[in-house]
């Protein structure tokens, strides 16, 4: 792996993101309605006022012109103004980034810490009670709807036991670290639960496959300890397919968890996306979608780089 390789990959992202932005822009504008339709309910907004607004937001221009203007401004860091709140888009988005990073980021780390050992445990204890129990939990995690689990945990922890707050990011007037962590606990757990379920299954099946390979048998035959075989020989090779899945999921850290954020009144990017979507707030939507696409492209690159770290046979030139 060389620096010039990374540079080439980064350069390749520009046309890719441009293409993505063109498609997103087109799809958004194909959807019925536009931002000014929110005024349709209001009898006192005259046609003249609507025309003024159209001009002010540049919505009167042909679509290709609008797109070209948007692209040039976007790459200069000028993300425009939200039609819904009249605030700069950059400000709106940046205001929500910390909350999303905190929730999705911590859930991601937690899921990783729990999922990999669980998967290995499940694979090495194949067809034992431990394996069946972990499998059962995984299937529960994959098939339980987020909103139902959230509701149950809220009832248990907030209403019955009064241990944790049911929603929000901080107690108003508090906002200290312990306070935020208390608020973070439930949504983080729920978000992590689903990931753990999926990732541990990948880890298990990948591990099972590797453990049946000839070289593992050879290592065992040569008298290498079982622990060493598992963690040194098998684990690294089993990680490669898991990394792909985990890396692609990690893009979601920046896109926000729409359902979890809504249920827990967590002020992140996922909720901003829903509100902007309902109002067809094009500038905010484009910014959010581009941030999400960028995260996805970058996590792909990171996954590729991680392969070569895990397995020296994989090289990029």
């Amino acid at each position: 792996m060389s620096l010039s390789y990374i540079f080439k990959r980064l350069l390749g992202m520009v046309p890719l993101l441009l293409g993505v932005s063109l498609i997103l822009f087109g799809v958004l504008h194909l959807a019925p309605g536009g931002p000014l339709d929110v005024y349709a309910d209001n009898p006192s907004v005259t046609q003249e006022a609507l025309d003024n607004m159209k001009r002010a937001f540049g919505l009167d221009q042909p679509l290709p012109v609008q797109y070209f203007k948007w692209v040039t401004a976007f790459f200069q860091g000028e993300w425009g103004f939200s039609i819904r709140t009249a605030q700069p888009v950059m400000e709106e988005v940046l205001a929500r980034v910390p909350a999303t990073l905190m929730l999705s980021g911590s859930a991601f780390v937690l899921a990783l810490i729990v999922a990999l050992p669980l998967g290995i445990l499940s694979a090495t204890r194949r067809y034992t009670v431990v394996d069946y129990f972990i499998t059962l939990l995984s299937f529960l995690g994959i098939s339980t709807p987020v909103f139902w689990l959230a509701l149950m945990l809220q009832l248990l922890f907030a209403v019955q036991w009064k241990l944790l707050p049911s929603a929000g990011m901080q107690t108003i007037g508090d906002g200290s670290l312990p306070d935020i962590l208390r608020h973070l606990a439930l949504p983080m757990f729920i978000l992590a639960f689903a990931s753990v379920a999926g990732w541990s299954r990948y880890m298990r099946s990948s591990m099972v496959e590797i453990l049946s390979q000839d070289y593992i048998r050879t290592a065992r035959a040569k008298g290498v300890s079982s622990r060493r075989v598992t963690y040194s020989h098998a684990f690294r090779n089993a990680l490669i397919p898991v990394v792909t899945v985990v890396a692609l999921d990690s893009a979601a850290i920046l896109s926000g968890a729409v359902i979890t954020e809504t249920i827990f009144a967590w002020p992140g990017l996922g909720r901003l996306f829903i509100d902007s979507m309902n109002g067809r707030d094009y500038p905010v939507l484009m910014a959010l979608l581009m941030v999400g696409s960028f995260a996805l492209v970058v996590s792909n690159l990171v996954a590729d780089l991680a392969y070569s770290l895990i397995d020296p046979r994989i090289r990029y030139d």
Binding site: S44, A49, T85, P165, S166, G173
Partner: protein, 539 residues
């Protein structure tokens, strides 16, 4: 004027400000009310801006901060707030020109009122409000009433003379009821981007001390508030009000149960049962000025233009069943004017539940039941799309009942639900066959927006010159007898034409801590927070 009801509590209309007097009377009666305390309220939507003129939602928070000259009370009657009286023809506050084509409204302002920064409130602020909202550069969600005003004179600090271009009986439900803008801080500023949108300055009982986007708004007591209770105690009683943004209605209920919030409104009917017997909470039923209706798109499929088909559907619709499916709270109605209004007409043509008659009507009109159970005539099947607001569970439940009831007479309805802008696009451009939804109005509604040929909310393509004439009379007369007659005749004609079937009037359910005293719900589109100064928490 009216607007469509949107997601729980996020009605797109906001009007008026402080209701007051009843709460003050109540609070003056006992000595029980305590000063101090914080009330935390859950809001089911994410606040876009705190500027009453720009927001896409009802101004809940704004109503506790910004006041208008008058406001509707709990009986939907206008009472004075920053004005000393509500102008009428009788008290000389309104003078209609001899040619009956214009009018002059004079407001006497309350002396001694201050903005929450301590600066005096004067007639210049009122004039400034009109000029600012009218300015085409200001991108407002609502400019109601600005176009009707020709000029404003301010002969002294406490007198405002408003010259209207037309006789406008609905003048109270617009501009100055909405809220007054402070001239001394906003003059020369760009209101589209000014910090006023996050921290509005008002004369109301509370002032904004913190607004954290996507999370909450904290209101503190306004030390300069002008109102005292009967015992001479400075209002408001509460120290603080906190509005927490909680978009999920299940979470809202959970927060009520766990005590994290003490009040929520527009709680879905399906969740009331689990809160009814919750100790420490009261459920308050607020009969709001709203009606649910099933609209026909008369520019849509041809059978919908056949009055027999519409009449048959009206007879096939069992309002009682719909009400039962929604917990029994909705009140069945026969006309679009809700019973609260004195001009609601009880003698309109009615379409009682009678599926046999519905079938007869369809048989007589030539719609025969086909092999699939659906009626058809000349190959045209009675199969339509029915649109409701996606995610609005109350409406979606009612929609299911309607689909089942229509199937019983051989009409097929297929749900086609939309949300947000897509819903409005379909509504106003006629992109639907049938639409089930609701309207909520101000205390002084104008029905021409919904049913006039050129009505901006008329996405049905409905047009009847007789209706237009009756509504024009109602919209331009200050004589209650003339208005009442015109509006009653309008209802009769409308129910003969049946462009829309009135279904139920749905009350709004408010759940609130039993410690809150002085709370009076408001049925108008002004929100329940129009009279917060008299609210108090029992210790």
């Amino acid at each position: 004027m009216g607007y469509q009801i949107q997601a729980a509590g996020s009605t797109r209309q906001k009007r008026l400000v402080l209701g007051l007097s009843a709460a003050i009377l109540l609070s003056g009666m006992g000595l029980a009310q305590q000063r101090g305390g914080t009330l935390t309220v859950g809001l089911g939507y994410d606040i876009d801006t705190l500027n009453v003129y720009s927001t896409g939602f009802l101004g809940d928070v704004q109503a506790a901060v910004v006041e208008g000259l008058v406001a509707p009370n709990e009986k939907a009657e206008y009472v004075p707030v920053l004005a000393t009286r509500v102008p009428t023809v009788q008290n000389g506050g309104i003078k209609v020109a001899a040619d009956n084509k214009s009018m002059v409204v004079t407001y006497q302002l309350r002396p001694g009122v201050k903005w929450s920064d301590g600066k005096p409130f004067t007639s210049a602020d009122v004039k400034f409000t009109w000029e600012t909202v009218k300015d085409p550069k200001f991108i407002a969600e609502s400019k109601d009433g600005t176009e009707d005003i020709a000029s404003i004179q301010t002969p002294n600090d406490l007198t405002v003379v408003v010259n209207y271009k037309r006789v406008a009986p609905d003048f109270k439900s617009t501009l100055f009821t909405f809220g007054i803008l402070p001239k001394h801080t906003l003059e020369g500023k760009d209101l589209n981007t000014d910090n006023y949108n996050q921290m509005p300055l008002g004369t109301g009982p509370f002032k904004v001390s913190q607004f954290v986007k996507g999370q909450y708004v904290v209101l503190d007591r306004n030390p300069y508030y002008w109102r005292k209770d009967k015992a001479g105690v400075q209002l408001p009683y509460l120290d603080k009000m906190i509005f927490k943004i909680i978009p999920d209605s299940n979470t809202l209920v959970t927060q009520l149960k766990s005590g994290e919030i003490q009040m929520a409104y527009s709680v879905p009917y399906s969740q009331i049962a689990q809160l009814d017997n919750q100790p420490g909470l009261n459920v308050v039923k607020n009969p709001v000025l709203s009606w649910q209706h099933l609209d026909f798109n008369l520019k849509g499929p041809a059978p919908l233009r056949d009055i027999n088909v519409r009449k048959a559907m009206a007879h096939a619709l069992d309002r009682t069943t719909i009400s039962k499916a929604l917990g029994g709270y909705p009140i069945p109605i026969d006309t679009v004017v809700v019973p609260v209004f004195s001009y609601s007409n009880k003698n309109v043509p009615k379409y009682p539940y009678d599926p046999a008659k519905a079938r007869q009507l369809l048989d007589a009109a030539g719609y025969k039941v086909g092999s699939d159970g659906i009626r058809a005539k000349n190959g045209q099947r009675l199969s339509f799309n029915i649109m409701a607001q996606a995610g609005r569970s109350t409406d979606e439940d009612a929609q299911q009942v309607i689909i089942a009831q229509m199937k019983a007479i051989g009409i097929e309805l297929k749900p086609d639900n939309k949300a947000g802008v897509a819903l409005r696009d379909a509504r106003y451009k006629g992109g639907y066959d049938l639409y089930y939804g609701g309207w909520i109005t101000s205390a002084d509604p104008s029905y021409s927006v919904f049913f006039g040929s050129k009505g901006v909310n008329n996405g049905q393509g409905y047009s009847n010159p007789k209706i237009d004439a009756l509504l024009a009379t109602a919209d331009s007369s200050l004589d209650p007898a003339v208005r009442t007659k015109a509006l009653r005749d309008f209802q009769t004609t409308l129910m003969q034409d049946l462009p829309s079937i009135p279904v139920t009037s749905n009350p709004s359910m408010i759940v609130v801590t039993d410690k809150l005293g002085g709370f009076v719900p408001n049925p108008t589109n002004m929100t329940n927070f129009v009279n917060t100064s008299g609210w108090y928490l029992k210790k």
